[in-house]
């Protein structure tokens, strides 16, 4: 086999491997995140724990008053964090692919802690405190 043919075939082989793994990985990512509609009262968002199933790791919290959604992330059975889904670069809305958050306009990415994993965003996503009040979760917008 000539060297040029070998390089060509190697490149095609690498391409196929890369393409296949990309496709598998892409299909794995098809997890939809449910939306919970609610409202703000006294700078608090109240979410009944009954609205979150045990296996649900992420929930999008949507209110009319806030122009961006909030991503509620389950850290453990008792612990949650809340991230404002607003890119810190140019204030475009970010979306979640269940593995992190992405701004489709300029490509900034954030992990589920809200930390920048890829620019151009410089700052992490805004986080809100989450507390328990009986059978409800409270997101504090203060």
């Amino acid at each position: 086999m000539k060297r040029r043919d070998f390089i060509k075939k190697s490149c095609v082989g690498c391409g196929l491997v890369l393409g296949s793994s990309a496709l598998l990985s892409l299909l794995e990512g098809c997890v939809s995140v449910k939306v919970f509609n609610t409202s703000i009262q006294n700078h608090l968002i109240r979410i009944p724990l009954t609205s979150l199933s045990a296996e649900e790791k992420l929930k999008i919290i949507r209110t009319e008053n806030l122009e961006y959604d909030i991503l509620l992330v389950r850290e453990s059975d008792q612990s949650f964090r809340a991230l404002l889904m607003k890119c810190t670069h140019n204030e475009n809305a970010v979306f979640t692919d269940a593995k992190g958050l992405v701004c489709s306009v300029h490509g900034s990415t954030f992990d589920l802690n809200g930390e920048v994993t890829n620019g151009p965003a410089l700052k992490n996503l805004q986080r809100y405190m989450v507390s328990r009040d009986g059978q409800d979760l409270l997101i504090h917008l203060h």
């Binding site: 890369l18 939809s32 939306v35 700078h43 140019n90 979306f95 692919d97 490509g107 920048v116 151009p120």
Partner: protein, 415 residues
């Protein structure tokens, strides 16, 4: 002159500076307040806010064959946005290229000037001068996001980034399939008489100035993110003749909205995880009636052209303590191939210098997020004598050689 209100005497410099700083601070606090800040502060929400950012880059380039060097402030761009309401936002980018504009070159141009209308949480409209989603670099061309001092050549000559036109675009993301984004836009068409051989469709762009709306263009994209992966397909088709159908007929050209069309399609894939990153892109352009255009305008236009590139990089600081300080030191290698000669009609002649291959390697060092120092070594080979194509994009301007090397060192920032 600033006078003291009580005594009427001139205020000293310190006092003046204090007053200016106080006013500036007060104004900035007032104007940059976002709705969330207002909510957090427990005060009446203020919908209006200003967004201000920018980016720029400068580079030193040494041409090995010529033994000459140049240094240039490649560009500085100021971005200003304004939120009129929670549904309507203004975005603009004003670019100064090569530090100043005079007879010797340089450019001052609007790169974007657009209103964004949010339809709901997942969909919005753009209206004005905007950058369609095509290729990896056109929409997102900040210098801190790509390796090497120059943007990939394929995304300059095959996809003519930064490519902006006037029109209206519809953008959205799927709720059923998170990660899937789509866009479709209607913009002004190209200027057929300005198309030139060896530059693809680049010279036919209007870029917002007195564009023909007799001919239009349609562009669309599908973009999917999943974890470390990003994959995109996009396309463009548009008319190139901005004259009345009767005038066009006299010239044996097809007028109308999509008459004498130009088309461009591309696909790209990128991956980023654990310090490793990979990008690959392929693009193909076509002007089926190039022969007719050449007959009228004698510009040696090709009926097809294409390009591709692959790039791999690794961040050496990924697994070190410096990662926590937001530092990166990426080593990268990129290979690019362009064929701007493509299928040449019988009435056109283009030098094979427009068939080019590049091998680019170097490092991209980010001492902190938003600031980058870049070093790259470029090896270029063309299919024919002459490297004139690089005059605009690089330091080389050699007409008697087929291969060259050049070294570039640059700085860039984005905030």
């Amino acid at each position: 002159m600033f006078l003291n209100k009580k005594s009427g005497e001139p205020m000293n410099l310190k006092k003046i500076l204090f007053v200016i700083c106080f006013l500036a601070f007060g104004m900035s606090k007032a104007q940059f307040l976002t709705r969330e800040d207002s909510l957090n502060a427990g005060i009446t929400p203020s919908l209006k806010s200003v967004i201000f950012s920018g980016y720029g880059e400068a580079k030193y380039a040494y041409d090995v064959a010529q033994k000459t060097a140049k240094i240039n402030l490649t560009r500085n761009v100021l971005f200003v946005g304004y939120k009129f309401s929670n549904k309507i936002t203004f975005f603009s980018e004003l670019e100064v290229e090569d530090a100043k504009l005079d007879g010797g070159g340089g450019e001052i141009a609007m790169e974007q000037c657009v209103l964004k209308f949010d339809l709901n949480r997942n969909q919005y409209l753009l209206a004005g001068l905007f950058l369609p989603r095509i290729g990896l670099m056109n929409e997102n061309h900040l210098p801190i996001t790509f390796h090497g001092n120059d943007r990939p050549k394929v995304e300059k000559w095959v996809i003519p980034s930064t490519w902006r036109e006037l029109g209206i675009g519809f953008y959205g993301s799927s709720q059923r399939m998170p990660g899937l984004n789509y866009s479709i836009a209607l913009v002004n068409g190209l200027d057929g008489k300005s198309l030139t051989g060896g530059t693809g469709i680049r010279d036919g762009r209007f870029e917002g100035r007195d564009a023909s709306a007799t001919n239009l263009a349609c562009t669309g994209s599908l973009l999917y993110f999943s974890g470390a992966w990003r994959i995109q397909f996009s396309g463009y088709i548009g008319g190139t003749i901005g004259m009345s159908p009767s005038e066009a007929k006299l010239l044996n050209l097809q007028g109308g909205t999509f008459g004498t069309p130009a088309a461009l399609g591309e696909g790209n894939l990128s991956y980023r995880k654990n310090g490793f990153s990979f990008k690959g892109l392929a693009a193909y352009g076509a002007i089926p009636d190039a022969k007719k255009l050449n007959h009228v305008y004698q510009q040696d236009v090709s009926s097809s052209f294409y390009g591709y590139y692959v790039e791999g990089a690794y961040d050496l600081l990924e697994k070190t303590k410096y990662k926590a300080d937001l530092k990166q030191f990426n080593l990268f290698l990129r290979y690019e191939g362009l064929n701007l000669v493509g299928n040449l009609p019988s009435n056109a002649q283009i030098s094979n210098q427009y068939m080019q291959q590049y091998l680019i390697s170097g490092f991209t060092y980010l001492p902190t997020r938003g600031v980058v120092v870049k070093l790259d070594w470029n090896h270029v080979v063309t299919g024919g004598m002459g490297l004139d194509t690089f005059v605009k994009g690089s330091n080389a301007s050699n007409s008697g050689i087929q291969a060259d090397d050049y070294l570039q060192l640059g700085i860039a920032y984005s905030f």
